[in-house]
Amino acid sequence: MDRFRRLKAALCALFLLGSSAAQFSAYAAALNEYQIKAGFLFQFTKFIEWPSGAETGDTFNICVVGKDPFGEILDEIRGEKIKNREVEIKHTGPHGLDGCQLIFISKSEEDRFDKILNSVKGKSILTVSESPEFLGRGGMINFLMSGNKIRFEINDKDAKASGLKISSKLLSIASRVKS
């Protein structure tokens, strides 16, 4: 029993020791909205097949159109591998989207959805945004909030028309599927 007590004392001492050992580094704080959305963007690509023609070029280009809500977050994805190609992050206007495999259209571009989506129509480019109007205008994946979690809805019809094949796993966890 004595030993047992001593050991418990040792345990307590350990906790106290911990409280003075303060000079160590960072803690991954709780995730903010755009960290989660960036995570989703990266994961989406694993569950979507691009037609072979679209996979030319050395890099997998993720393009952000309009005001970038991600800040530095997307830099974490830069250099990762998607479809065996290195990821490049580009910020572009509504033009020059041809080389992109995935475009994230910022909410700031709501008035220009039609124009942007028309310019990539029929090309194998995955379009993602975060506006309730997005799917109705022909966009493919739209983020929404459910409570304090991020959910998304998918427009499989227009994705198919563009030659993108979205896996049933991704479709099954979408909040809504337009097919």
Binding site: L7, A22, A30, E33, I36, K169
Partner: protein, 649 residues
């Protein structure tokens, strides 16, 4: 005293040096999050944060929707087999023995189980009727299991741990779902539909019915139907309302040992029992500001259970208020108040009855917890306590102190010291249990005792989580639980009653003891399509009855397995196929002579479209039948196969 320092240092060494941790949420890198992780991650702003559970200073396991779907489990208890530190054994087709950190039995007294904030342990005996906690698996959002004392925040009875079952917001169950399941041991069907009322309100309604077969050598087939509704309304940016109601009704075949004062004195009877009940819950969440919010919750719960030797009606009303806010930049405070009214009406038989037959009890609670960022983003100290006044043991305090240190973004160390109590139940105070030592010759009676004290636990925990490489997350926890006032019985005397000699025993609290253990969880995402979830549990219990106490609960030393292992691989195959397995090893229960066993479940799923899912599941594949826990007539779990179809519309 069998406890040695060598053993202790082994635990500590394991706890400190074998790398460990939780889910991928530990990783800072966003690309390491799986789709499921992301679905389950809550968005938190820097200030108003409910820190992800797995970064808390406690041993936490979260079972998410994907874990539930791919387990092939048809009942909540079966899901808990994938939690290290838990003991799960099926006694009969409708009864489970489920514990955290030991003391397992049909009615485990040291566990708090909550369904959407509604406590479901019975104040009659402090145990949980798992048969009626049967939710539709598709309605469960997640199950959080917190091992170790959780009373300071979660509430009474959370001595060895808390199981927190959270169902989905009706926003996430829109549209229709039909499921049908047919198999050798079970047949079931369910229908669910969710829709919108206006812009701000969503709802769902569901109904479910199942029939489960008798186990091997058992008389325990059962059927149950249930239905429920849920409505969620976002009134404005600051207010959310939720309403939830459900009703169930079922019939169970039971095998019971029945004692009478007339011949044949003692017989084992096969009979029918009835279970029914329902609840209504409402919750109002309000945000005062970015850094301050509150929840007000009320529920009413009613249950009825006719188990041949005892009928019980129970009525519970509970109101709970909690407020969460930031005090300055460094203090995160949660405090709350609660009141619960519990009334019952029992009708017993000579075998077992309660005296008095009816009773109404009050419970008043208050709690306060503060988490202080001692070093921002690196070191947190949490102190909190729950104070309560109950009708059995009066005033109780359950404090805890916790420290969490995150030296690097991929690892964290935490420790905790807590005091927790298990307040006496109706059974401890008011039970009268009669049985024959020798039928027709000598009787025995166990009587409740109003002087019985609360069981007290001082728990010392230490945990370490690490993600040594991107695809591997490890979590190791070591603990020492120091108990006193555990249940014993004491001899009152030998007398003559109704013409028979009788030995009278009373419930007492003269046992001390320790439980020590280590729990290791490992999650390995080998490739994007292949992951393994596994765990190991070591548990040793040393109990000592004192002052001539008869050590009824000393049996607990041999009622929980010393070693347990589970390995659950999960593979995504081409053509939208999924292959899952769950392999488990459970050590022998020495006291009740249940041998050690290996068992395995397997599931093959096919999801040709997002609206359609077919699966074939085999359970307990290694044996025709095997025993997991002793029950009347020694029923055994059987091998089972079923097919399931789920269609969304």
């Amino acid at each position: 005293m069998k406890f040695t320092s060598v053993r202790f240092w082994t635990y500590l060494t394991i706890a400190l040096f074998i790398p460990a941790s939780v889910q991928a949420a530990d990783a800072a890198k966003i690309t390491s999050f799986s789709l499921e992780d992301l679905m389950n991650t809550e968005v938190t702003s820097v200030t108003r944060s409910s820190r992800p559970l797995n970064q808390s200073a406690a041993a936490v396991t979260v079972i998410n929707q994907e874990d539930i779907r791919r387990s092939g489990a048809t009942a909540v208890p079966e899901l808990l087999r994938m939690v290290p530190g838990m003991q799960v054994a099926r006694i009969t087709a409708s009864q489970w023995a489920i514990s955290i950190r030991g003391f397992n039995g049909a009615l485990v007294t040291k566990l708090l189980v909550l369904v959407d904030g509604r406590t479901v342990y019975s104040p009659l005996h402090s145990g949980v009727y798992w048969d009626v906690q049967d939710l539709m698996p598709e309605n469960i959002e997640r199950i959080e299991v917190i091992r170790g004392p959780g009373a300071s925040v979660w509430g009474s009875n959370a001595m060895n741990g808390v199981i927190n079952i959270i169902t989905k917001d009706s926003k996430d169950t829109q549209g229709g779902l039909v499921t049908g399941l047919g198999g050798s041991e079970e047949q079931s069907g369910a229908l669910r539909y969710g829709g919108k009322i206006g812009e701000k309100t969503t709802y769902r309604g569901y109904g479910r019915y199942f029939n489960r077969d008798s186990s091997h050598d058992g008389n325990d087939a059962w059927q149950m139907g249930q239905g429920g509704i849920r409505v969620d309304s976002t009134l404005n940016e600051k207010d959310k309302l939720a309403f939830d109601g459900a009703y169930y009704n079922g019939e169970e075949d039971l095998r019971t040992t029945f004692s009478t004062l007339t011949p044949p004195f003692r017989e084992v009877m096969n009979a029918d029992g009835v279970i029914s009940g329902g609840h209504f819950l409402s919750r109002w969440e309000h945000a005062y500001s970015e850094t301050s919010d509150s929840t007000l919750q009320f529920y009413y719960d009613q249950t009825y259970r006719d188990s041949v030797i005892l009928d019980e009606y129970r009525y519970t009303g509970d109101i709970d208020w909690r407020h969460h806010f930031m005090l300055g930049d460094r203090n995160e405070v949660v405090w709350g108040l609660g009141y619960r009214l519990n009334a019952d009406k029992t009708k017993g038989t000579f075998s077992a009855y309660f005296d008095p037959g009816s009773r109404t009890d009050n419970l008043y609670q208050a709690f306060l917890q503060d988490t202080i960022a001692l070093v921002p983003d690196k070191l947190w100290f949490t102190a909190g306590t729950r104070l309560e006044i109950n009708d059995y043991s009066g005033f109780e305090a359950q404090p805890t102190a916790r420290l969490l240190w995150q030296p690097t973004e991929k690892q964290s160390v935490w420790g905790a010291v807590s005091r927790a109590v298990r307040i006496p139940s109706r059974l401890d105070h008011d039970l009268q249990l009669n049985g024959w030592f020798t039928p027709g010759v000598r009787l025995g009676r166990l009587e409740g005792d109003h002087d019985r004290d609360s069981e007290v636990l001082y728990a010392y925990e230490l945990g370490y989580r690490v993600q040594p490489v991107k695809r591997l997350a490890l979590d190791v926890t070591g603990f020492i639980n120091d108990y006193k006032n555990l249940t014993t019985t004491r001899l009152i005397g030998n007398e003559v009653e109704n013409g028979f000699p009788i030995t009278r025993l009373a419930v007492d609290d003269e046992m001390k003891g320790q439980a020590v253990g280590t729990e290791i969880a490992a999650k390995f995402q080998a490739t994007d399509n292949f992951m393994i979830n596994s765990g190991y549990t070591l548990l040793q219990i040393y109990l000592n009855a004192e002052n001539d106490g008869l050590g009824t609960a000393e049996a607990a030393e041999g009622q929980s397995p010393e070693h347990q292992i589970f390995v659950n691989p999960r593979v995504d195959l081409p053509f939208d196929l999924e292959l899952d397995a769950a392999l488990r090893y459970v050590d022998a229960l020495l006291r009740s002579r249940v041998p050690a066993y290996w068992e395995m479940d397997m599931r093959l799923g096919w999801r040709p479209t997002e609206r359609l899912e077919f699966s074939v599941v085999g359970q307990n594949l290694f044996h025709n039948h095997h025993q997991e826990f002793p029950g009347t007539g020694n029923p055994e779990s059987q091998r089972a196969v079923y097919g399931k179809t789920a269609v969304k519309f």
